[in-house]
Amino acid sequence: MAAYQAPPPEFRELPDVPNKLEPDATAHLSPFVAKPEHQTDIGFPGELVDNWEEKAIDKMGELLGKYRSFQVYMDSCVKCGSCTDKCHYFQGTSDPKNMPVARQDLLRSVYRRHFTFAGKYFPKLVGARDLTREVLDEWHSYFHQCSQCRRCSVFCPYGIDTAEVSMAAREIMDSVGHGQKYCNEILGKLQKVGNNLGLPGKALKATLAEFAEEIEDDTGLPVKIPLDVEGADILLITPSADFFAEPHIDGLMGYAKVFHEAGVSWTLSSYASEAANFSMFIGSYSNLKTVAERIRKAALDLGVKRIVVGECGHAWRVAYSFWNTTAGIGSGAAEDDEFAQALQKQLDHNYPIPQHICEFTYDLVQEGKLRFNKEENDWRTITFHDSCNVARGSRMGSWAGGQFDIPRAIIKAAANNFVEMDPATIKEVTYCCGGGGGLLTDDLMEIRVKGALPRMEALNEVVEEQGVTHLAAICAICKAQFAKILPIYKFPMDMITSTHQIVGDALVMTGSIQEKELDGTDDESDEETAGSEES
């Protein structure tokens, strides 16, 4: 299935030298176009509509009126060049259209032609152009070579965010019937079945029982992974990759251990068995809301007091930044805001809503409620990959930058060997894994490999100089992308680790086999029965 077989780009000298431009180096890369049913399932025309040029311009006008970001960003760029060398796809491909400003200009040129005086009367002077079939194809290609990671926006003196521009471009393409297969097909499944996989409730239940059994074998404790439990305190919303992919599953088992040890009642929902919300990638507010409302409904139906979100980057951005807006999942709704109040009255506002699983674990660590045997992780030397959407599109904790401190704090609580990658590649200026923003599909393998270059270079440096063996992440897409990309760059596939796997591996649960081994309260030969003796 993976079409891309060529070797990855060579590592450059760090700090990297600016690229020699290679125009149209990745012009051939364009994802599959959505099939009619993928489009119509989520409310878009099945195929390219008759007068699509006109419709696309109308849509652009509508978005300009609805999104201040889009309007201001179309006008404000001065072509200073600040962003030109900041995109991982540019660094990996040298294609000038992967420079953020050039990517924006693919759309801005059409904006200028139709919505500005200069573009209407002096198109050549200001680089304005008509919307043609070639332009549409170019949009489909290059707006799917942007993972909406917002690294460029950090460096823009006006905060111009290419993610906003690429979302608008994708929304326009969807609205004229020319969407992307990967995102739209998945969104359809999510809205029909409840998760990106299309995994039905029954199968999910069986899978979760297996994981619970595995934890019990390991710890000797009857740890449960509950599903659809009415009246539970906490609803866990996690990416469905946590139910089937490695290393995601180990992360899920880590959350289960932490919940069990905290002694809280919690549940998953089969109706809302997905944290991911690809509506953000395609810039569709209506789909964003529809999907977020599934979680609202699950919370209302189950009567939960808190909502915790598992390890997922864009999902955390959606949850943290957009759930309150789109579905009232949060705090501080106005008294007369009946829609939001209906849910918010039920929730316990002593806790952040929604709360990230790392925040949940961090609070327990701070309170001294979790006991770790850090030596369990001594065979690992760990570095942490900040996920773009968590780093630049959300927060954890009550302070700016908590999203950097909290995951590191819990890794360090559970492991002795932690090192950082080059400061120019982490935290606020972290590099995307190369597969975010709706690009995690085999038909875009080449751009995924090339876009991973800056991260792989930074990783290679700490592997060679500091003996790093594991790359911890808090994002389902990062994990899936790295599991595929690491071997291509000649790293072991299982380097990529869920952060809560590291937590789970070192967690010494009360009454567990590990506790007894550690404290020597039990005869070692009794190991097998240790679990049952607890009760």
Partner: protein, 240 residues
Amino acid sequence: MMSVLYALLFYVATALFIGGLFVKIRQYARTPAPLKIPTTPAPTTQSGVAYRMFREVALFESLFKSNKWIWILGYLFHVGLALVLLRHFRYFTDPVWWWVELVQPFGVYAGFAMVLGLLGLLGRRIVVERIRYISGPSDYLMLILIIMIGVSGLMMKFVNHTDIVMVKQFMLGLMVFDIRELPTDGPLLIHLALVAVLMIIFPISKLLHAPGVFFSPTRNQVDNPRERRHIAPWANELDK
């Protein structure tokens, strides 16, 4: 004759400048920002946002993080321009405000700094391949226009003195709709004509970055989406 022509030019330019900017600023202000999208880490309070915006506008913080050459040249130009503009208040006020007097000695050198910065930016635009790629004719012309304004201004100060008292009388006259005589030196006429051009194109060009930065949601939003429900009017309709 020339005086009347320039008087009309300035009336038209001023009207287009103010009217155009008013229309654009009103558009920015009225367009909702439906989602919370500050580039994080972002301030969690309104005063924190004001401080972030101050750093962005007064120090070009993001540009500083990005590229020291563009920052130095851009900063030289913008600070130079700001001082030069302040200095020019002396041609519109009688008596001259005390703080304009204060700026006066710096304003003269600022003219050089401004032109130097602009020449540097033009040089980068030509020499650096990435920036050359993204530059269109209007990007070069804009730099050349402002360079010519700066150079013609400096020429009046250091090469070919203009009767500045007369110029001031002309300007003060314009402000009370009384067209007085304007000196007809070449550099002055060029300077004033180009300034008028700049004013006219301001609201229809990339110079909109000046008001635009204040309306940029990634920079002007408070990071508090969990604590407050943020909702745009058009999005609110979807709740019902």
